[in-house]
Symmetry: D3
Subunit: 330 residues, 6 copies
Amino acid sequence: MLNQKSISDFETGEDGHLYLLLTKIEKKVARTGKEFLTMELRDISGTISAKMWDGFEVFYASAKEGMIVKVDCKFDEYNGTPQLIVNRIRPVNESDNVVHSDFLPRSQRDLEEMKTEWTEIINNLSNSNLIELIKKIFDDETKEKYFNVPAGKAWHHAYIHGLLEHTLEIIKICKTACDIHPELNRDLLIAGAILHDFGKVEELTFETNFDYTDKGRLIGHIVIAAIRIEEKAKEIGGFPEELKNQLIHLVLSHQGKLEHASPVIPKMPEAVVLYYADEMSAKSNAYLNVVKNERQGDSNWTNFIRLAETAIYIPPIDEDTDSPKESLFD
Amino acid sequence: MLNQKSISDFETGEDGHLYLLLTKIEKKVARTGKEFLTMELRDISGTISAKMWDGFEVFYASAKEGMIVKVDCKFDEYNGTPQLIVNRIRPVNESDNVVHSDFLPRSQRDLEEMKTEWTEIINNLSNSNLIELIKKIFDDETKEKYFNVPAGKAWHHAYIHGLLEHTLEIIKICKTACDIHPELNRDLLIAGAILHDFGKVEELTFETNFDYTDKGRLIGHIVIAAIRIEEKAKEIGGFPEELKNQLIHLVLSHQGKLEHASPVIPKMPEAVVLYYADEMSAKSNAYLNVVKNERQGDSNWTNFIRLAETAIYIPPIDEDTDSPKESLFD
Amino acid sequence: MLNQKSISDFETGEDGHLYLLLTKIEKKVARTGKEFLTMELRDISGTISAKMWDGFEVFYASAKEGMIVKVDCKFDEYNGTPQLIVNRIRPVNESDNVVHSDFLPRSQRDLEEMKTEWTEIINNLSNSNLIELIKKIFDDETKEKYFNVPAGKAWHHAYIHGLLEHTLEIIKICKTACDIHPELNRDLLIAGAILHDFGKVEELTFETNFDYTDKGRLIGHIVIAAIRIEEKAKEIGGFPEELKNQLIHLVLSHQGKLEHASPVIPKMPEAVVLYYADEMSAKSNAYLNVVKNERQGDSNWTNFIRLAETAIYIPPIDEDTDSPKESLFD
Amino acid sequence: MLNQKSISDFETGEDGHLYLLLTKIEKKVARTGKEFLTMELRDISGTISAKMWDGFEVFYASAKEGMIVKVDCKFDEYNGTPQLIVNRIRPVNESDNVVHSDFLPRSQRDLEEMKTEWTEIINNLSNSNLIELIKKIFDDETKEKYFNVPAGKAWHHAYIHGLLEHTLEIIKICKTACDIHPELNRDLLIAGAILHDFGKVEELTFETNFDYTDKGRLIGHIVIAAIRIEEKAKEIGGFPEELKNQLIHLVLSHQGKLEHASPVIPKMPEAVVLYYADEMSAKSNAYLNVVKNERQGDSNWTNFIRLAETAIYIPPIDEDTDSPKESLFD
Amino acid sequence: MLNQKSISDFETGEDGHLYLLLTKIEKKVARTGKEFLTMELRDISGTISAKMWDGFEVFYASAKEGMIVKVDCKFDEYNGTPQLIVNRIRPVNESDNVVHSDFLPRSQRDLEEMKTEWTEIINNLSNSNLIELIKKIFDDETKEKYFNVPAGKAWHHAYIHGLLEHTLEIIKICKTACDIHPELNRDLLIAGAILHDFGKVEELTFETNFDYTDKGRLIGHIVIAAIRIEEKAKEIGGFPEELKNQLIHLVLSHQGKLEHASPVIPKMPEAVVLYYADEMSAKSNAYLNVVKNERQGDSNWTNFIRLAETAIYIPPIDEDTDSPKESLFD
Amino acid sequence: MLNQKSISDFETGEDGHLYLLLTKIEKKVARTGKEFLTMELRDISGTISAKMWDGFEVFYASAKEGMIVKVDCKFDEYNGTPQLIVNRIRPVNESDNVVHSDFLPRSQRDLEEMKTEWTEIINNLSNSNLIELIKKIFDDETKEKYFNVPAGKAWHHAYIHGLLEHTLEIIKICKTACDIHPELNRDLLIAGAILHDFGKVEELTFETNFDYTDKGRLIGHIVIAAIRIEEKAKEIGGFPEELKNQLIHLVLSHQGKLEHASPVIPKMPEAVVLYYADEMSAKSNAYLNVVKNERQGDSNWTNFIRLAETAIYIPPIDEDTDSPKESLFD
């Protein structure tokens, strides 16, 4: 994995020699008639605008969005926002030994551990129809994508392996619900959790950047998943019709309300549990990320967070005594 | 077709000798300890409660909801609502020559004419992929159901052949939109209209009464149709991915708003046109039915209609001059 | 505990000799001029209307709502609803050996086990300020009420000890959230869970029936709890101001949205977790109760449940094969 | 009509010699103390900011917003937005032969054809009272304005003759509805369509720019039209009171919902039809304009369109095969 | 004014000899075949159902809804609701000396005093245009209706002279607002208050019962008033256009929000003041009426009041000490 | 009080020698590597950005936000927004004779007069419990804050002494309501008005700038006030429980709707009156301020005002005749 200083850690005026992912590029003409390049570049910590004034013709002729580049640059500021002034730039070659995934944020959890956890959950299901269905849906190619896709573009678990991490959290919460209520249909609930956001493998692109596909915008991950369940269940002889409809119901209703784009609302206890487990996993991840990343100077508050409809509070650290936070943990 | 006086046309005190559809039956015990039957019976004009006090044991032993029966009865009233007092009742046999469809309301339009209109619309499509897809979806059994299913349980086109009538209206309106805007994709729009409510063949039962199926409640007609389009398009070699996604988008978004249970909102001009054509057909049918059926004595207003969120106005007929209505038509 | 057949298990026409709780009583005059009593009586399974036509004068003179009575009666029906015809009635005396709690529904969980669980949770907190605060709030009298109070009047955990059961469920879910996110302030979160609905001890009456107090309607349990936390924290020297405000914030925001009567929305990750843990515990209890109690004959659906905004699905039991439900559990 | 290159077609760095409409002008002082002019200029394709640094004193002394000017200029860019640097500027005179309407967008449909269509519609009405009312409302001056006014400031049919084009579309859709439902009062519906947005002639200014009048903001086009119908109907002896109220009802309710500023909701089938015909005409025009004008580079999606609450999809053109679009039309 | 015991004060079983207003009448047939009358009768305290079993033929032949009748009757109860059993009934004649207004609730305030107050307010306006406009609108016939009309059908000031009482309250509150803010246009505000609900004279019938007219339902009092102001202002030479538009704006916006059926929202300080003065007068009247009329036995709470979206609290009277209420007044 | 030209009255290019309040300060590095200061400064008319390029090191070493400074500067413009170029800057000392309150907007009403009015209102209450409670709450330190705190950060009465002015307005309106309805509990209502926004003394900081405290954001002024009332009422022997609950209810419900952050809605006539009196005072102050401060050149309309959801109309002054406004006042 690439080891270099993050662009979010540079100060204005510093020089950088960095591998970066080229996400946008355009040639423009200045007032003086001089041509220059404007680019958007990203590393794992985020994106930055860049300008290049001289010597870019050769590079520009072969440049493509999605390409990894090596740049020599100076960190500058424009209208209060950081930007790069690029002095030299070239596409990387094999000897640079960098790959796309070096430039996209990824889950803090260990991937292999998560894969193992996920596989065991499936193996521990009792209902053979559900096991067969899940195995049919997750052929090798699909599983590869599913393990990599983020859970979203920006709000929660918005990083490589994010959907896997999110799904495992949901399952943990669902299992607690089953411990409380043994009458819940545990297999149905866990299968629903595994498949609820599965459609995101077709809804999102995540190879070079996180964005929606045309299909994602026109159909949405919820219906994509429902279609796939129906298709694969049909391939299994004697898959119970009721069970299939219940599973599709869990997927369709998991956003809980029509206005959140679920075409049906939860009509079974299992659907209600899945809805709240999903919300709890998503929101706690999102809020904790905001607390970690959005501290504003000395303030105890982040900026206004649109999706939370509020600023988030970051408790002050009490320096005189033991940190109250630490003393609160067991 | 059955020819008998409608239950809505009897007065309290009249006797009736009628074929009726038995939709509910229960045996109860009166305060005195005497057993009696309570039933719900329907003919084409609606449903009525019924009581039977004596001589029902033999009938009751073999009675089943959904059965057609012959009853001798007197029209009575209970708490201001009409009810039947049944004197004699028996299941019908073949020689009675009555069928279930005699007891369900049906479209006023001629069925064969509608079928012909519908078939010609499909034959006049230009896009061979869409034609093939529609033909694959409408195998004989499915077409039979599609021609019979009502467009809904109660509000608009809530009668046998209702979906077909509704669909033809929508197509007529969509064609007007295409005349205004030739840049609309006419084939896509018409295919979307044909398929938009197609899922109702699985969402509703309509053989003996109009009601929702379990699948209808758990999944809904919108996603049922999307699943079927995907399944059948896959069987066609080279069906364009974009076209399939657009068609599914039209079906998914045709209720126009998330809170109306569409999982995506319209994102193409064709989707917007389909949404409003559907609304116009549904609401004008519903309001005109209300005006026809809900006049309250001399009042110019119906009762409050919940789905319209208002009472509906019924213009008075001007008796002195020519009816203004007639004079207004060209 | 009282051992008698539940009023919900009697059939029309049966005779009963029962202890019941008198919740309403009124003397009326029939059209004929004859006086009679109308009463509402309850046992642990619910309430029933009753009429008494003769011989009630002595009883009526001393009758009070909230009194336990012994009745000889016949089960009857009026307008389709069960009612009792009372032949004899008298107040109970000590030798009857019945108490009010025999007539109110109560949690299925063992009370002592729940008390122990609750006490251990508090003893395992690390933050001494929070432990002291909780102990100050829960003096003996308050603790007694807190252990008895239902979590609500009708929707979820609406039975004696319901709040305790509900609180323990929330804590279990919160602990799962802390396992997933060790950076959550576990002590704060658990203290918030313990106190979030604490105000219900003053919001509700639950000795003879479940209803709101004047204070409950005018102020509400959320603000009642906030006031008590402030009051008791003040009595503790050096209780950190920030911690107190955070704890009150968790209580105030635990209904998640202003329109659900929280005067502030969640602004901390812990507040978000508490909100969803509360929702999950409440809704899964409510839906499972509905499934258990509201099955309608052979139907796979309950009646429309207003608070769920839908009918609830009750999966059919597959009788030919192993019950799918059982086979799904591990 | 003026024939010159549109300002939206110039590249940065090009020189222009153009007639433009001056919509705003202000003199400012630069940091250096030097005075300069900032202006907003428009042609038929939109507006652009402009700066003039020297030699503007004579012009400025007589300049007025709404004046047409001839400018010599260079196309420049400021903060990523195009702007003009004006070298010379003068008011036009008669010999320039340009008029205000050269600078405002206008309908693509032929005006005379639309006028003829509109006139024939009125002549074909059967109800003499409605014909007389419409003729009274549309005196020569009013008709002139009505034929010119846009249907709105920005969203749909926002160009000269836009209301006329919009109205004719609505009538076409309403006629289709009458073909489907002969029981609709066709004359009432068409009169309602003609008058529904009539108040916009007083609500909007459109001579030099599109904006709201004070009266438009304080009262709105809906009530303006209602007032005018009442006033003119009173001048007709024996105009039926019911017909007048129905017509005003159609105008008042044509935005369909209270929150869309209709003071009453539709309470007649004709009012419902008019509402949806208006929506369909407005939205299909708006979406098709967006598709035509807002394509973003290679993307299949426009930017987020606030009034549509989504980005709009623009299907890709399939270049290898026949354009799918063409092949779809019959 | 009629002096007789109110129907709300009779007990079941009592006999009555009363003048009542006949608001509905229908002949029905009992199960036994016997004909009988069902009627709705009202006095000043409300309405009651009635049945008459014998000897009604002569009366029925000439009976008309809206007629005043003399009845001999017994107070009875049906399904828990009071009803009358009528023994004899006849239309009143002149010698009975009763009039319709004896049977409708009316304001507790003295009519002449209110008229004087209202007239003085107008005479004290400074703006001669507004004075002339108001005088033109209130010709003798209109003034008569305006002084009598209730402010609504049921919720607030729902009694004869109610609009006048309501208007005077609003003006009193507006004057307080002008005392606080001398920069408010006092004449405009008071004229707006006088005219804001003026349209109710055409929206409501109130001679024999309180109900909506067809015009009231199709157009509504807000637009009716706007039309009348425009019409009458046109008759005044030189009435300032801006002033007229502002006055109409106040009337149109006085319900404050689009969803409350105002077609524009308040856009002037005076419009905002009028909106809140109207709300305060309406709601305080409504809540105080509820407190006065809806006490439920010993309870401190009324039933749930739909328009208030809550039950209303009625403070208990402290009997031991001085009534807290009295001691609170100065 | 400080007497100097307001920063909002300077033109670009002018020099200033001004006392200003330093509300933000940061050192930055320009592209050239040169360090400079960016600051935010305010006087009584508002805030302005400032840059300082040279000679700021000594000042910067001791600068603190909240400090008053003396600056020599030139008024400049950056991206269309005014900014200051600071040439010299120093902290003030005692001999400058300026205080923080010179830089914050304050009520136009005389403070002593308002204090007297407020004190008399309390002394004129009849209920000795309420008088004692209010006196306990307003100890000297609290009263000092209460007299100074603004009623909000930006929208209405957003200036020093604003809450006091706002409260007195509300009381005036409440007294009018009591004049209309003598059955209102006047003492309760006035005590509610005095305390309704009392919590703002802890919710807001207002010494150097107007902003929210942590406690204000986490708990809010409504619950802060409720807590204080409970605390202080407990200190009074025999304070009636009902009265306390009613008073807290008025405070909690004074924002009228749950979605406006009131945890209960008004359930007493007095609570309804307080709600509307608060709204009327707040909105009329806000709208009148907008009219006074936001006139845009010659336009009769302000910019769009987000909190009013509209632009506000400013009637034109008629210059030819007497000002209509003046002629309208009596």
